[in-house]
Amino acid sequence: MRQTMPVRLNAAEETLIAQLKSVGAAADAERISVAGLPTRRVESYHYTDLKMLLKAVPPLAEAANEASAPALRVAGAYQLMIANGVVQSGTTAPAGVIVGSAEGSALSTRDDVLVHLNTALVRNSLTLTLENSVDPVIQIDHRSEGEAAHVADSVKVFVADGASATILETFSGSDAAHVNNHATYMALGKDAVVTHITVDLSGRASSHFATNEYHLADGAKLRTLVIHAGSGLSRTQLFPRYEGAGAHGDITGLNLVSDGQHNDITMDATHAVPHTTSQPLFKSIARGHGKAIVQGRLVVARDAQKTDAKFMHQGLMLSDEAEILSKPELEIYADDVVCGHGSTCGKLDADSLFYLVSRGIPKAEAETMLVRGFLEELVDPIEDEALGEALRSVIDGWLLGK
């Protein structure tokens, strides 16, 4: 059905339309002119009404002149930097890693405004080809520097059959009101084993949008961990596709939400072939008037018999005003599968807290211990010790901050 009433466009939408026209993306500009940014009436944006939340869009990014210190350092990591969308020349890549560049965004076509924007705005993607197992953590350090900018970048990773790697993407930069739109495309070959961690540590004035698309071949194993711990508005979209028998995904994520923040993790997973498994596990902690959202959809294709998938979202409310929203969805076309979803939300357990304080641990410290314990399930499986410690420091930083 065509919309007959014209949409009233706001300043952010007008800016986006002008920017899309300026890069020659007339079709994308037209789409926003007609429909505007998604509102809560669009199911996948029900809890993240972009038209309401995205008040302004800054000018398209120009190359950065300066760079702040990396937001997260991991001992022994191989670092690459993308500043304001431009790949910076780095140090020599470790054996088995080929760094290159490809035209355009890495994402597949999808009817989603963040994907459209990324596809229209990104000129070149950073490409990483991992020919065999890579020992050091590969860190891609995304920066948005200088005056407020609309930044788009894209990373494309190919992991060869049987190879293994740990890839960390960190997002940070100046305190300006950047709007960042990141994309990562990752193809895992047969029996490849990949840990992919993304940590947003941008300033509070920033908006952080990221879309991670994964393709898993036979026997491939993927562990992800998305951590939202920076931007005032953030949404990470996870699109894993299990395309080979034996493929398995531990798709995990964490919203660390303080007063006034709005963090959204949205997963839309497809089990495309028989005998694939996944264990999506998300956690949200909110304090003040913070708002955390996790949406998780499991789509099981008609032929994908013996799929075994269980979605879980656990929320922890540290204040009465916090909001944690959860939307699990199952869309199953096969008839011989085990799929489930669960969602819990609550405060710190009073009995657990009493047990700790009864041993002499002051209340505030006991609360911190319990929160760390609650999150350990996400950090513990990460094998690289230095990386695990770095992630614990992000969590501790949030716990000690306001």
Binding site: F354, V357, R359, G360, P362, M369, G373, E376, E377
Partner: protein, 253 residues
């Protein structure tokens, strides 16, 4: 006269509108082990929670002194640092917190509260190893999350290990025998007995006499309907076991 380790005077407490403790009086001198026996629902466990400072209860009357200090004015963590220890009937499972991490945090928090310096890691490890050996607790168990997946025996041994490391003045053991088989009961009792000392008192709460064969009390109190109704030596426990509670509190069993 020496100051009692624990002195409870006319303690009344309620949960919501229901009065559970109705005037408890109890004095435990240094070095003594007192047992409190009573039927289920008589308020024994409430007494232990009230002493440890659980929030659910409202104290309406009375006072409690721990080694001469007003216990009821203290936060639960302050009570622990002042020397009170409650061994839980059902130790709580804390996922994601390694037992070792917890032990170190508890010991250092208490030291800090008393103005002492933090334990060095080697000193801590040595203390844990020594105390653990006597209780058949190995380091593998201590690396596991606190009480998570522990058997009944392991949980109670872990409680006694904490008691040994925290070296309290006043130990309250709430139904320590529940969930224990005979062998585990012996290990736990041996651990508790090893901690008996001239400057440490214990309050053993139980509804079976069995535990008192292993941890022999100096004084036995019968608890009924929120107060102590009878006190005597260890033979009182045997009489109770033979006759039941009805003879002491007048109510039908």
């Amino acid at each position: 006269m020496t100051t009692p380790i624990l002195e409870i005077r006319n303690l009344h407490a309620r949960i919501e509108d229901r009065e559970i403790l109705k005037g408890v009086n109890l004095i435990i001198p240094p070095g003594q082990v007192h047992a409190v026996m009573g039927r289920n629902g008589s308020g024994k466990s409430t007494l232990s929670y009230v002493l440890a400072g659980k929030e659910d209860y409202e104290i309406t009357e009375g006072e409690v002194l721990l080694d001469g200090e007003n216990l009821l004015d203290m936060e639960p963590s302050e009570r622990a640092a002042a020397g009170l220890f409650l061994a839980f009937q059902y130790p709580i499972e804390i996922p994601g917190v390694a037992t070792m991490t917890f032990l170190k945090a508890a010991m250092n928090a208490q030291r800090k509260a008393r103005g002492e310096g933090e334990l060095s890691t080697p000193d801590f490890m040595r203390a844990v190893k020594t105390a653990g050996t006597d209780l058949n607790i190995d380091t593998d168990m201590l690396k596991r999350p606190l009480n998570v997946g522990f058997s009944g025996g392991e949980k109670k041994r872990a409680e006694v290990l904490q008691m040994a490391l925290l070296a309290p003045k006043m130990c309250i053991l709430d139904e320590t025998d529940s969930g224990l088989d005979i062998d585990a009961l012996q290990v736990v009792s041996k651990g508790v007995n090893a901690l008996r000392a001239a400057n440490r008192s214990m309050l053993v709460i139980t509804h079976y006499q069995r535990l008192l064969n292993h941890i022999v009390p100096d004084v036995v109190h019968v608890f009924s309907d929120g107060r102590i109704v009878e006190s005597g030596d260890k033979d009182l426990a045997l009489q109770l076991e033979a006759k039941g509670y009805a003879d002491f509190d007048g109510a039908a069993a």
